[in-house]
Amino acid sequence: MAVILSNTLVSAGVFKMTVAFTGVVKPGQFFMLRAWDKDPLLSRPISVHDYESGQLTFLYQVVGKGTEILAKLQADDEVTIQGPYGNGFPEIIGDLCIVGGGIGTAPLYYLLRHYRDQNPIGKCRVYLGFRDIAYGIEAFASLADEVVLDVGGIITHKLSVLPGETVVTCGPELMMAAVANAVPAENTVYVSLEAHMACGIGACLGCTCETRSGNKKVCKDGPVFVREEVFNV
């Protein structure tokens, strides 16, 4: 159980929730959230959007029953969180190019902040694509060297990756596949996958994805994979 410090609307249907938490949390990891008893039955996987001084932040979009309940919570309410789960993003050496789509931008902000902390002189460029309405841009802009924004278009049309950049992408699967295909083979590309999850810890085999090296569990072996593992590129 974690105490909610704030839970506010940041854009149409998108909320930011901050809870009190103490622990070690890596960018790209996620928590299983539940603010109900047994209806719905399962917890919801939500990425870490930020973590600092005991404050853990999630950025989530309301799409169904679970996220609707989350959106109704208020400061001082409690939410059950299990985690952090998943491998998270690797430490990025060298320059970074972030490509986020929609709510897929959620985990990328913490990645960027962490990257800046570790790597104050590294270059980081950010591409952000949204279908209708953009959100969270300023936060990225305040830390990145460059932010390219696209609303309603196709982000890969604007994308040009520089030699040596490590690319990290999270967003709709089709977008990530397009990025995986567009980026030159010389650049390393990490993708963060989604899957329906029951346990979140590797026990149910419900989130399996096929990879070049056999089945992997998105919850435990992922959600972050090297592009070659999971996309045919």
Binding site: K38, L41, S43, H196, A198, I201
Partner: protein, 301 residues
């Protein structure tokens, strides 16, 4: 530690009658982060097959009202890898370890069972009821005749006691249970998942590549309880019952219906601590009711 919950399943001694169900607990390792597995009455392995299986493609999980549909399709590393990589760890845990075995045909069942003769498991759960695989699986479990046949052959070659896990999707479950008992099964477990279907109306398509999938969770409890009761009335061998158990009250109801042990499946996903909470709840119940052992209310209805 008192012995309110000590339970004999034939001559197998369980500290308590609470056992995480096959497929919802991996090989236990993941739950070690939550609690000491030795507190469990036992644990049951993910369903194993002779050969490694990569399971079903496509969507594998779909939530339903008070339920969960799964189409895992018995993804598992195969018996050999299990014996090599998982068993050495499992056997060190001070609890009863049940090995769940599936198969695609008679030969694969028998070969798997033979290989397991090499280890000292306490109980084998013969899974003839998985609705998520095309070959074998449920096919054996929906008719009394075939269920009896495969049981007889397996019992013959196994040095382990065999508990047959029944399907809720076939003919009268009591008939199937009796056929298994007659064929030499030393126990019955039930229910496996109920066959269901999901359609994604937005995509105008079925959700699961395998068309149908298995339903479990609180939604199915009334059906599971009825079947457990029917089977407990029908056979003399002990029954390990499951299906939608989500707290100690549910567990108690299955015991009152006659179950010797109970298994905890889907609710592990909702609450990883569920098995321990159920153990604590049953113990408190014994104390409050002045029972020396939970067995005093077994089969009371």
């Amino acid at each position: 530690m008192s012995n309110y919950l000590e339970t004999k399943f034939n001559d197998i001694h369980f500290k308590n009658p609470v056992i995480p169900a096959s497929g919802t607990f991996g090989f236990g390792r993941e739950y070690e982060a939550f609690y000491d597995l030795a507190k469990l009455g036992g644990l049951c392995s993910k369903g194993l097959t002779l050969e490694p299986k990569s399971g079903n493609t496509g969507m594998r999980l779909w939530e339903t009202p008070a339920g969960l549909m799964n189409s895992i399709g018995l993804e598992n590393p195969g018996i050999d890898a299990f014996i090599e990589n998982e068993w050495p760890h499992l056997k060190e845990i001070d609890t009863v370890t049940i090995v769940n075995v599936g198969g695609k045909d008679e030969e694969s069942y028998l070969t798997a069972i033979e290989k397991l003769n090499a280890i000292d498991a306490q109980l084998i759960e013969l899974n003839i009821s998985c609705p998520n695989v095309k070959a074998g699986g449920m096919a054996y479990g929906i008719k009394a005749e075939t269920a009896g046949e495969i049981t007889r052959k397996v019992v013959e070659i196994s040095r382990h006691p065999i508990m047959v896990k029944l399907s809720p999707n076939g003919e009268a479950v009591a008939d199937i249970a009796r056929a298994c008992e007659d064929a030499g099964a030393q126990g019955i477990s039930l229910i496996n998942t109920l066959q269901g279907m999901a359609i994604d109306y937005r995509k105008k398509a079925v959700v699961f590549d395998n068309l149908y999938a298995g339903l479990s969770g609180p939604a199915v409890k009334p059906i599971a309880l009825r079947m457990a009761h029917q089977v407990c009335q029908a056979v003399k061998i002990p029954v390990m019952a499951m299906g939608g158990i989500s707290d100690w009250k549910d567990a108690l109801e299955f015991i009152m219906a006659g179950a010797t042990c109970i298994q905890i499946g889907t609710i592990n996903f909702n609450n990883p601590m569920a098995p321990l909470e159920i153990i604590a709840g049953l113990e408190a119940y014994c104390i409050n009711e002045g029972l020396a052992n939970i067995g005093e209310v077994r089969g009371i209805v």
